[in-house]
């Protein structure tokens, strides 16, 4: 489809690690989520992207989504505190580049797309990232996806409701039918 081609083309043009300056000013307002996260490192557009992309990767279903369990705040805290200065720069510039690529190919910031469009766009970015592109904005997508998943699946909801978690298993059984466990172990 047309948008996919556009994404591919943009990615091919940009290549490598992208250090394009943010072309977006601070946008006012944020989506009403009830998430008490107050960004301390991300600017408003970076925060909006983080929330919308994290929720696209892990949406609310019969269990809570990324925003409700506080994944965006977790991600910012990781980037701010655990990442090295260089990793932090790569992540922040990755956020900006992701949105600028999105703007170029869709005419919208990612956060402004409808949720169907967000899923379609992110799915395509995921597919491209898994192709043989070694670096750049596509690599950033997997970095973002991983951080989203780390935040979600180490949360109480992710670990206990989506996956299975036993704080005190009590014993070890090395070979049993999967259905007796039912879901992947969180840890």
């Amino acid at each position: 489809m047309e948008r996919r081609e556009a994404i591919k083309r943009t990615a091919a043009i940009m290549g490598g690690v992208i250090f394009a300056p943010s072309i977006f000013g601070v946008l006012s307002g944020c989506t009403a989520t009830g998430d008490p996260w107050k960004p301390v490192l991300f600017n408003q557009s970076q925060a909006n992207l983080t929330k919308s992309l994290a929720e696209t990767i892990i949406p609310e279903t019969d269990t809570a989504g990324a925003i409700e369990v506080g994944v965006p705040g977790f991600m910012e805290k990781m980037v701010n505190e655990v990442y090295t200065e260089e990793q932090r720069m790569v992540f922040l510039e990755g956020l900006d580049s992701f949105d600028s690529v999105c703007m170029n190919s869709t005419g919208n910031l990612f956060a402004d797309l409808s949720s169907d469009e967000q899923l379609e766009y992110a799915t395509e970015m995921n597919r491209l990232a898994l192709s043989d592109q070694p670096m750049g904005v596509l690599n950033f997508f997997l970095l973002f996806k991983e951080l989203t998943m780390v935040g979600y699946f180490t949360s109480e909801v992710g670990a206990t409701q989506v996956l299975r978690y036993e704080p005190v298993p009590g014993y070890y059984d090395g070979c049993m039918p999967f259905e007796e466990v039912g879901r992947t172990w969180a840890t």
């Binding site: 990781m78 704080p167 009590g170 172990w185």
Partner: protein, 574 residues
Amino acid sequence: MNFIDFAQIMNINIKAQNSNTYDAIVVGTGISGGWAAKELTEKGLNTLVLERGRDVKHVEDYPTMLKDPWELPNNDQLSAEELKMYEKQSRTGYTVRESTKHWWVKDPEQPYREEKPFNWIRGYHVGGKSLMWGRQSYRLSPMDFEANAKDGIGVDWPIRYSDLEDWYSYVERFAGISGQAEGLPQLPDSVFQPPMELNCLEEHFKQSIKDRFDRMLTIGRVANLTEPKDGRGMCMSRNLCIRGCPYGGYFSSNASTLPMAAATGNMTLRPHSIVNSVIYDEGSGKATGVEVIDSETGEMIEFYSKIIFLNASTVNTTLIMLNSRSNRFPNGLGNDSGELGHNLMDHHLSVGASGQYDGFEDKYYWGRRPNGFYIPRFRNLDSSNRDYIRGFGYQGGGSRESWVAAVRELAIGKQLKEFVQTPGTWTLGMGGFGETLPYHSNRMYLNFEQTDKWGQPTVVFDSELKENELLMRKDMMNDAAEMLEAAGFKNIITYDAQPPLGHGIHEMGTARMGNDPKTSVLNGWNQIHSVKNVFVTDGACMTSSACQNPSLTYMALTARAANYASEELKKGNL
């Protein structure tokens, strides 16, 4: 000074000496120090146990033992800023976490120099590394004690397996080692608690390498209880051992030996006590005590005793000895041979292979087994037919890929949440633990010019892997891949991270045992050849490294030496 003043001073000195005098002093509270404390106090000796770090009480002082993943900030990772405090301690990649950071020294406070790279990983607190150890527990074999003599390497061990056999059993009965008896000559069986289970894929791999190579795979022999013992509960398969266990499910000084020592009423435990040197009396030819720096006040205090056990960990025990200089021993206590600080060994590791396996898709496991499998040494057993001598064992494990694998999958959104609920492909990996030979040129020494904040000289490391180890590593990598291939694995990846010595956290050998005082520091009872009332029973005493995890051997050597020491003391020989 008039007569009255002099009498008063004499009186005060005698009082101080009396209150600071014990039958025995044990320096260090880790695996071997805990055993020395237990054995000596149980023999009725009034024993002072010195620990350079803070006190850690069993259960009470394990602040993170019950934390769930979501209760730990930043996915249990340290902030980049805080990680700077643990630059060397974190080199292993697994040791320093938010949930374990309180167990490791802060590198800027505990500096050392690396003439060649060396990972010196330490925890300064009551219990030492016995709280964070990997708990793998293997006996050395008759072959290991004979190897140096046979190969003409280093010096001969002054003892044989038969000297230690009963002491292995003795410490195993108390510590609690789970494992499977296999009857292998190169890896004698311990007194075992019931073994943990292998999982489906590990069972398949075991059968496969038995059929194809006639090699053994056995469940790891581990100091985790599979049956309750002496007030300690059995392992609950949480795999959070390193945080401290609320059940006492694994052997540590804090859970096991020190409570027994305390129960005798004969132990005085003194934390915050850095031993600066051993006091040597030229007249009697004996050590009379130790000089201690109180790490909180900076005060220098002397304690006296009839016998002294040095269990400060290999490098720190050696530091204390090198720093105990006198007219008789200008180059360090008991260093007539010049070998003190030399022959530094470790196990060389971080080399092996892993692969994926198609099958057992309907199978899974319950619990987080704090253990893996072990493949006992199979190279150079009957004859040396490789281009290196000695050998290696493997430690490894099988598991199914978790949600992490889904990062590199197409699934996203609702699909992703469903996808991760089914575990991924079975994978199995293993890494070798190789014997390191004792080389005189592999050494640690003291820098007396650069002192730490307590005025102690700092340690310098000058050691490296040499040709025998490097040649062995090729087999360690290729044999692993070959076995995986034969067992039907796919996507096999080999690796050799080439870490420096110290990475195994099995440093040993710097005050070796031997028959000849001219070429070794300790005799067959772990006594300093020339100062018989000082015993060294931590890793410093090791004459060769073998390839088995060494802690069980330190336990057995310590129990043996402590019982000998108390008998000799009774006979008036010390």
